[in-house]
Amino acid sequence: MKNYSQRSGEIGDFSDIPFWKKADAADLVYVSYGLLIVTLVVVSYLLGAFHLLPHDPHDIRLDLMMSPPGTAGHLLGTDFMGRDIFSRLIVGIQAYFLPGLLAVAISLIGGSTLGVLAGYRGGMADTAITYFTNLVDSFPRLVLILLVVAAFKPDIYYIMIVVGLTNVPVVASLVKGKILFLKQKNFVEAAVSLGLPARTIILKHILWYNCRSLLIIQATLGMGEAILMETSLSYLGFGVQEPSPSWGNMVQAGANYFMQGKFWPSTAPALAILFTIMGFHLLGDGLNNLLEGKRGR
């Protein structure tokens, strides 16, 4: 059974219907959850940056080694060196926050530039960008990162530059697609024929009005991607190195104890990864549906 009902009263002016009534309930839940996660991440980042933590994350307490969650003062327990897991989780955000923003910035700026070049100018630029996309797609991202790590040094910023660069084609093709859609509707031509300068058309009409939601969504997805990459590489031992905490190297450090049935040292960061990445994904998809109206009529 599906229910449909019309508002009683005068139809005609719909502007007084609040946006959350028009939207799909699921999307609102997605976006609220996503925003909650983003807020938590930002707040935790700031807490970590100013060292406002329950415990010093580097404070080794051999007497408290492997205390289970709930031990007095240690909400999530301690790890194999007796360090507070909760504090280390908060500090772990330092590992990906700024590098992740860098990756997102690279992909958005690079992607919209190339996308505009390919979509607006077309021709050779388009062909070149297609090849660039194919080239980037030919590398598994992680293999490329391993190569860079081996050649230079295992530095999280190097890794994030690669992540950002490899996301450039994704953003570029989306921006290009949008421009081609607008072109197909003669929108760009109409703007040119009105006499608008190319700068206004590209910056104001294309990027600002028509690509902004797309870019916001890509930013959230890109951040999720960056977190995944950072944690994966730290897990593999190439990202953030002990004793600096990262969610990835925390999982790795807890792995041996996991097999002994002591779950918490690796489960806490793993769940943090799960819920955070999910938050960014849900935020992206929810925003996509809200702003672009993928569902319903």
Partner: protein, 336 residues
């Protein structure tokens, strides 16, 4: 004697399609002569209609004339000035005087902008104008296109087709053009709304002294609104003249077929006579089919009834437009 505002001399616009990735090396290209040597002129306060089947190049002419696309060869004179090689910046200035109405209702309307902002932007493109002046101009434009003020704060998707078209026209008028290329301005609209738009365009012409290049496949509308009509076939004008003569005394077999197909649909009993003139019309209409001589010959009933004269298919004697009196021009070896 009204001044000539637009003159097009032997305009050609060819599109090149590369056949694939490696064709750049092999030089294998597909050439589509969308516009293949077209000449005509448009006087001030006059309307020239451009008709033809889809894909015959009429829209391309409109775009090229406004230099939205660069011509392959030929010359375009606007106000006796050659704009064929004008720079982007020169063109941008010229756009204050020549405008285009697009077939797609949404073309002129940024979906994320309110109608007021769309009009404001258009008003301020070419002139620096104060805010009061902008609102005064907006009010004036709304009156000209007969649109309610309440619509100003709406977004484009909240408007009906007719309203969108009116906003599009208001946007075009806001820069104060003298020449408007109207590309199928009524085809996306309902019959009852079409009539409103046709009337509006005619009123605007008499009020503002506009000149129209009116592109449409709707023969009745073209006949109604145009002073002169040019009939296009495969990138060429095959007949041109006063609209009444084109409609009622066509000389080119193709023009005859176009107009009789209108009557055909209506008349209950299609006479065998008209049916005969249409024989052979099933030939597919496209640029890729090779032809030599007259490009209409493969579909031409006269060519058939004359016993396929060689002059029609001789590459050396492609029929050219020639005057047969009263400014009526036809490109046919055997005019009706």
């Amino acid at each position: 004697m009204p001044k000539t505002i637009l003159e097009v001399i032997d305009l050609k616009k060819h599109f090149f399609h590369r056949k694939g990735l490696f064709s750049a090396f092999s030089g294998e290209e597909r050439r589509i002569p969308a516009v293949d040597g077209v000449s005509f002129y448009l006087k001030e306060n006059e309307t020239v209609g451009l008709v033809g089947e889809s894909g015959c190049g009429k829209t391309t002419i409109g775009r090229t004339v406004l230099r939205l696309a660069a011509p392959t060869s030929g010359r375009i004179l606007f106000d006796d000035k050659d704009i064929t090689t004008a720079t982007t910046e020169q063109l941008r200035k010229l756009r204050g005087q020549m405008q285009m109405i697009f077939q797609d209702l949404d073309a002129a309307l940024n979906p994320k902008m309110r109608i007021r902002d769309i009009l404001r932007e258009a008003i301020t493109v070419h002139h620096k104008v104060s805010d009061e002046e902008v609102s005064r101009r907006i009010g004036e434009l709304l009156e000209q296109v007969n649109l309610k003020k309440g619509k100003l704060s709406n977004f484009p998707h909240e408007l009906s087709g007719g309203e969108k078209r009116r906003v599009g026209i208001a946007r075009v008028l806001s820069v104060g053009p003298r020449l408007i290329v109207a590309d199928e301005p009524t085809s996306a609209l309902d019959v009852s709304i079409q009539a409103q738009v046709v009337n509006l365009l005619r009123d605007l012409q008499s009020q503002l002294g506009l000149s129209y290049l009116f592109i449409s496949h709707d023969l009745r509308v073209v006949e109604l609104i145009s002073h002169k009509v040019a009939v296009m076939y495969l990138g060429k004008i095959v007949e041109m003249g006063l609209s009444g003569r084109i409609a009622h005394a066509p000389k080119h077999p193709y023009t005859h077929i176009l107009w009789s197909s209108l009557v055909e649909k209506q008349s209950k009993e299609s006479s065998s006579a008209t049916r005969n003139t249409q024989s052979g019309i099933w030939g597919v209409f496209d640029f890729e089919r090779p032809y030599s001589g007259c490009r209409f010959a493969p579909r031409c009933p006269v060519y058939e009834s004359q016993g396929r004269p060689t002059v029609c298919t001789d590459p050396a004697s492609e029929p050219q437009l020639r005057d047969i009196g009263d400014g009526h021009q036809v490109a046919c070896h055997f005019p009706l």
